[in-house]
């Protein structure tokens, strides 16, 4: 079976990478292929990388409120490019209320601080499988 390909990155001027790198390593340990794009991404660079790398899931890690603006832009840009790749958000700055808003806008899943990693892995796997069969 083809391994699941997950793109992991951080947006804008947010330069807190600890969560992103931690998750990237854990996904890799699960046999997934992680394309780690680091910091200073924009919706454009994420979409471009997702296309080039044929990503099954996009994971955005956030320790800055910039995600509130960039995430809707990213979702729009994916739509414009006819790219049906689910977006997962993670980060301790994401409050329950904001998580709800992001889910309403079309984010596939949100993980705040203290989320159970096995839940995250399971979610990514299900989303990737869903994307493959849809």
């Amino acid at each position: 079976m083809k391994p699941i390909r997950v793109l992991v990155g951080v947006l804008g001027m947010d330069q807190h990478e600890l969560g992103a790198i931690g998750i990237a390593r854990m996904l890799r340990d699960q046999g997934m292929e992680v394309i780690y794009t680091g910091c200073f991404n924009t919706p454009e660079t994420i979409v471009q990388a997702a296309m080039q790398e044929d990503a099954d899931v996009i994971g955005i890690s956030s320790h800055s409120w910039e995600y509130l603006y960039y995430t809707p832009e990213l979702l729009d840009l994916l739509k414009q490019n006819d790219l049906d790749v689910p977006v997962v958000l993670g980060g301790s700055v994401i409050t329950d209320e904001d998580a709800g808003k992001m889910l309403d806008k079309g984010v596939a899943a949100v993980f705040g601080s203290g989320s159970i990693v096995t839940d995250m892995i399971e979610t990514v796997r299900n989303l990737a499988d869903g994307a493959a069969t849809s």
């Binding site: 600890l18 390593r25 924009t42 800055s64 409120w65 409050t95």
Partner: protein
């Protein structure tokens, strides 16, 4: 943390006795104020530490109001952080900055901003420390002092120099390493000449240790950087005693109570020996290093934010016992944001309660001579020195930066820390032990989750400001700066000229990059005012 070992992995015995600590008192410790300064850099003063809290949010005016509020609460020094664009040498109207201007620190990019920021702050009395890019803080502080008729010679405070680790950890300058190192050395040299009471070189081990480093790793990487910067300054022909008295260190303080105290004691001793024995410093002030501390943001949790108040208090007690020169507590809302008004109040009051009510400052270095603490200090010191040697044996540290060695190192520690918290090796009450359902976890949550909106108006204001300036003197100053970069001259005079001509930080940084043969805007959005062919 495994039972009976420190976070750095040092095994601890359940009980210590006379056989655990021996050696010559004067060689290993010395009295406070005496070489090798293990027990403190000054003889007993009973004065305690400079009490301050991290500040800076929104525009300079709002931050100035914040400073004045903190001063009414009894804060005795300023600690200013820039927002992420400012910290990364980027102006607010850069396309990548738009959604974060003023949200995680203050937005600063021109001399007028510093005028507003420090309006009404007595420059000759208040110690002003800042983690915003040193060259620009120093240039504006110097100019401001002159504008207000204050001698730059009386300015106190500090700026941080971080050429080794900033690119790969927290705030990237997107600059060639050699250029960043030169900026740092120019600032240090300028300060030691023009602002001799000001610390032009604060070695900030805090920010990179938040990448999940333990105490030994934090100190070791700090000393690798200190050593390299000192060697570079000596190679310029400077006398060690002309700048070393104004080197200070800003460390982290995690929750590993004893090890953090041992780390600070060990760092004072290592610094003293390095300066005296390796670099030949004769002035005792060159050997005695002031250590300031910012308590660990990484140790805090977004769950049950009130628990963070306890963490800050415990860390403050540790630092009071270790004897530090200044401290900031990472406040209870740190998981979400820079400190709110309420968090500032609690942070400062925590420091004041410990300082004024507990008698903590009545005795200096109370752990001195403790079988346990002395043995732990020795062990931490030995491991720090081993690690410094190990890193330096891998090659010229400057080349290790360029080859990505430290980047890999930080990625490794970040992954390790993430796993330690996940696996419960590092326990965090409320997060991975003693959790509670979200609906019950309400204490202080509303305050913690309050956001700071990005300043879209400031983006417009800075764009308009660019057009308003008299272009001729501005371009002349850019050309002069560009030329100076090609020489060995200190760049500060040319930077001062640009600053007075109305240049922004982003422009000056861009000209420096361009003169170095690298892109003016590393993100590829902006054109240089000097054009492409310079």
């Amino acid at each position: 943390m495994k039972e009976n070992s420190t976070r750095s992995g040092i095994n601890l015995s359940p009980v210590y006795g006379p056989s655990d600590s021996n050696g010559d008192y004067s060689k290993r410790f010395g009295n406070p104020g005496e070489y090798p300064f293990t027990r403190g850099t000054r003889a007993y003063s009973g004065r305690g530490w400079i009490q301050r809290e991290l500040s800076g949010e929104g525009d300079p005016k709002r931050s100035n109001e914040q400073f004045k509020y903190l001063m009414t609460l009894g804060q005795t020094g300023l600690d200013v952080i820039g927002d992420s664009p400012t910290m990364s040498l980027m102006d607010p109207d850069h396309p990548l900055a738009q959604y974060t201007v003023g949200t995680q620190g203050v937005s600063l990019c021109r001399h007028d901003d510093y005028r507003e920021l420090l309006d009404g702050i007595p420059l000759d009395q208040m110690s002003i420390s800042s983690s915003s890019p040193s060259m620009f803080m120093v240039a504006s502080l110097y100019l401001l002092a002159k504008e207000r008729g204050v001698s730059p010679g009386v300015l106190r405070g500090s700026v941080i120099e971080w050429p080794f680790y900033s690119e790969h950890c927290s705030y990237a300058y997107k600059m060639a390493f050699d250029l960043h190192l030169r900026m740092s050395c120019d600032v240090i040299e300028f300060c030691s000449r023009e602002m001799p009471k000001f610390h032009g070189y604060l070695e900030d081990t805090y920010f990179f240790s938040e990448a999940g480093l333990n105490a030994v790793e934090e100190a070791a990487l700090g000393f690798v950087e200190i050593r390299h910067i000192v060697r570079t300054l000596l190679a310029r022909g400077l006398d060690i005693d002309s700048f070393a008295p104004r080197i200070a260190i800003l460390t982290n303080c995690s929750m590993d109570f004893y090890e953090e105290i041992a780390k600070i004691r060990a760092m004072r001793r290592i610094f003293a020996r390095m300066m005296k024995e390796e670099f030949g410093a004769k002035d005792p002030r060159s050997q005695a290093v002031n250590i300031a501390v910012h308590t660990s943001g990484l140790s805090l949790t977004t769950e049950q934010p009130a628990n963070n108040i306890v963490r800050g208090a415990v860390q403050t007690v540790a630092l009071g016992l270790a004897g530090v020169s200044a401290l900031e507590i990472s406040t209870f809302d740190e998981g979400y944001r820079t400190p709110s008004k309420e968090a500032h109040l609690v942070g400062l009051r925590t420091q004041q309660v410990i300082d004024l009510e507990t008698n903590i400052n009545s005795v200096q270095d109370p752990f001195g001579g403790s079988w346990f603490m002395e043995s732990l200090t020795d062990e931490v010191e030995a491991r720090i020195l081993d690690m410094v040697n190990d890193i330096e044996s891998r090659g010229d540290p400057a080349e290790l930066v360029s080859s990505g060695y430290f980047k890999q190192f930080f990625h490794g520690t970040m992954g390790r820390y993430h796993r330690q918290v996940h696996d419960g090796d590092v326990l965090k009450v409320g997060m991975n032990v003693h959790q509670m359902p979200a609906e019950q976890d309400t204490l202080l949550r509303d305050i913690s989750e309050e956001k700071i909106e990005p300043l879209f108006d400031r983006v417009k204001e800075i764009s308009a400001y660019r057009e308003r300036r008299d272009q001729k003197p501005l371009l002349d100053s850019f050309q002069r700066l560009h030329d100076v970069v090609q020489t060995d001259e200190n760049m500060l005079d040319a930077v001062l000229e640009c600053t007075l001509a109305g240049a922004t930080m982003g422009e000056i940084a861009g000209i420096l990059r361009q003169a170095w043969g690298t892109p003016y805007d590393p993100y590829g959005h902006l054109e240089s005012p000097l054009g492409r062919t310079q």
